[in-house]
């Protein structure tokens, strides 16, 4: 077998093993962490698409996450739809919003994009708190009905894990195909040298908009699933903590590296559980990790490995 095929087999085996987790453990604690890991990793991979591949730092992910959560919760609890319809809404609404914000913003520079997305995230959190008629304000919406499919209720953590797992596999598979396709390579080219991309007769705008919309939809649906795991949604769902988590996963893993971010996502989901500190102390550590990672290895772990490989090749050439 070639290495490529061995790799593919290994990936499928790991994915199936992860899917079998509810048979391997009965601990709701571990399964709860596994749900978070699946959802956070997908969100980090979506951020990686827009930041790591396309080079646009988007803080709007937090807003999409929140809108996705509220859209799904409201579809089920207020508008009488089911969970799956809610997820569909979460994806469509976020993709539309991403196009609406992305178009005017991406016409100007990357700087404007960062700041506008940041302000958007804040706006969403303020609206969830202040638009009491729709979102029930700071009280939030509690006791979210668990989803069901063909009469099977995903009402325990073990059963709900399969929803999160299936979504993670679908979303990560889609992102992998996208990132390794011609579109993915075009996105990297836009990040590295936009004038060159234009000179090749490719208009960067549709690519940037598509990457932003896909990343928005995937993050929104992840948010929709996660709030049903928590069984409650309130304005704290838009806490900046989530954005920091996604960012740290992308940066520690290595922006622009698909597997780096996936591995960092799984590892960093387990980390806060191992380091059981008070909330403030955990945030201080997160902030410090972000600061130090950006100072000493801006390429993340994958970038560091890549650098090492390059320097070894250079050394081999000189001999």
């Amino acid at each position: 077998m070639t290495t490529d095929r061995m790799r593919a087999v290994a990936i499928v085996a790991v994915a199936l093993l992860l899917g079998a987790l509810p048979w391997l453990t009965t601990s709701n604690y571990i399964l709860g962490i596994a749900v978070s890991a699946a959802i956070f990793t997908v969100s980090a991979a979506a951020l990686n698409l827009i930041y790591g591949y396309t080079g646009l730092l988007s803080f709007a992910q937090l807003g999409f996450w929140g809108i996705g959560g509220y859209a799904t919760a409201l579809t089920v609890m207020t508008f009488g739809g089911n969970f799956w319809l809610g997820l569909l809404w979460a994806g469509l609404l976020n993709a539309a919003l991403a196009l609406l914000i992305g178009y005017p913003t991406l016409r100007t520079g990357r700087h404007t994009f960062v700041i506008v997305t940041l302000t958007f995230a804040l706006l969403v959190s303020l609206i969830t708190r202040d638009w009491v008629d729709l979102t029930r304000g700071p009280l939030g919406i509690a006791n979210l009905t668990p989803p069901s499919l063909f009469g099977f209720w995903f009402d325990t953590t073990a059963r709900f894990y399969w929803v999160a797992w299936a979504y993670a596999m679908l979303a990560l598979g889609f992102l992998y195909v996208l990132c390794t396709s011609r579109i993915g390579r075009t996105l990297v080219a836009i990040k590295q040298n936009e004038p060159l991309v234009r000179a090749q007769g490719i208009s960067p705008m549709p690519y940037k908009l598509a990457a932003f919309a896909v990343s928005a939809a995937i993050t929104g649906m992840a948010g929709g699933i996660f709030c049903f795991h928590l069984k409650v949604i309130d304005p704290l769902f838009l806490d900046f903590y989530y954005m920091q988590t996604f960012l740290i996963m992308v940066i520690v893993g290595g922006a622009g590296s698909f597997w780096g971010v996936v591995i960092a996502g799984i590892a960093m989901s387990a980390l806060p559980e191992i380091l059981r500190f008070s909330d403030d102390f955990r945030m201080i550590i997160y902030g410090a990790i972000l600061l130090i990672a950006m100072l000493v290895m801006p390429g993340g772990f994958a970038g560091w490995l890549h650098e090492r490989k390059l320097s070894r090749m250079r050394a081999a050439l000189q001999q």
Partner: protein
């Protein structure tokens, strides 16, 4: 709809105070962007540190207002100097995203260290002026507000003189206008960038100190304001100081008027809607970089 003129006047005065506060923060951001092309995410935390410094200096100095403000400004300026020398100096040109992520990490650390040490409970602070104020017709404005607004105006006056008529300020404008040309005539970007950061954090310290007696002092107070300041420097045009001031005053007034007549959600959303509209119509901000630019 009839509008009570007293109510409208009160809203307008509140709006101006709010706008001046936004302007103090936004001007610092615009100044740093002009010189270094980076965004300081931790700017709001400097404001918070200034407010905390004020809240500790006041009791220690026998509630005297001005010496405490001076302490707050010095504390934030020293903080700005440290941040520049240890973190920002490592940034190369065109590392905008990296600057945001580094200062974001810094902002999280400062915010949560303060919250860890002083708890999240809001602090009420008292000054020598207490709750005395001036009466204009049926409206009463406390001295702390009047003085805060005056100090902000004075700071803008000083900043203008500094940028326009001193070598210190001219060097900043030179770097902002043309980095290479400034280098050629012997201006050192490192020194100028340090000055800009220290000056901007000093303005933040002033804003924090002026705000401390007016509202509650709590760890999250800076974060809430900083997002609006980000939007303001987009509306005013990135790196454009007069633009930032005009946009800040406009937003303060608008928010105050909207808040007086509509639901709070509209007040909070106004800044975002304005920003998106401005980006549609004038992508470079309302006051495009050009002859007007000072930073």
């Amino acid at each position: 709809m009839t509008v009570d003129p007293t109510y409208l006047l009160q809203l307008t005065l509140n709006g101006i105070t709010l706008g001046l506060l936004y302007a103090l923060i936004a001007v610092g951001l615009a100044l740093i962007f002009g010189v270094m092309e980076i965004i300081n995410f931790a700017h709001g935390e400097f404001l918070m540190v200034g407010a905390y410094a004020m809240s500790f200096a006041l009791p220690a100095l026998g509630l005297l207002y001005w010496p405490s403000v001076a302490v707050a400004i010095v504390v934030t300026m020293v903080g700005g100097l440290l941040v520049y020398e240890f973190l920002l100096v490592r940034l190369k040109p065109d590392e905008f995203e990296r600057s945001i992520l580094i200062t974001l990490g810094l902002s999280i650390v400062i915010l949560h260290v303060v919250q860890y040490v002083f708890t999240a409970n809001p602090r009420m602070i008292d000054t020598q002026y207490g709750f005395d104020g001036v009466d204009i017709g049926a409206i009463r404005i406390t001295w702390t507000r009047v003085i805060g607004a005056t100090a902000a105006l004075a700071a803008f006056g000083l900043l203008y003189l500094l940028l326009k008529h001193t070598q210190f300020g001219r060097a900043m404008r030179a770097i902002a206008q043309n980095r290479e040309a400034a280098l050629m005539i012997g201006i050192r970007p490192r020194v100028v960038a340090r000055n800009a950061v220290v000056l901007a954090t000093g303005l933040c310290g002033l804003a924090g100190a002026a705000l401390a007696p007016i509202q509650l002092v709590q760890p999250g107070m800076g974060q809430f304001l900083i997002f609006k300041a980000f939007a303001l420097i987009i509306i005013g045009g990135l790196g454009n100081i007069p633009g930032a001031i005009v946009a800040a005053l406009g937003l303060g007034l608008l928010e105050s008027w909207i808040g007086g007549f509509f639901e709070i959600a509209f007040q909070e959303g106004a800044v975002f809607v304005i920003m998106i509209l401005v980006l549609f119509v004038k992508p470079d901000g309302l006051f495009k970089r050009g002859a007007m630019r000072v930073g």
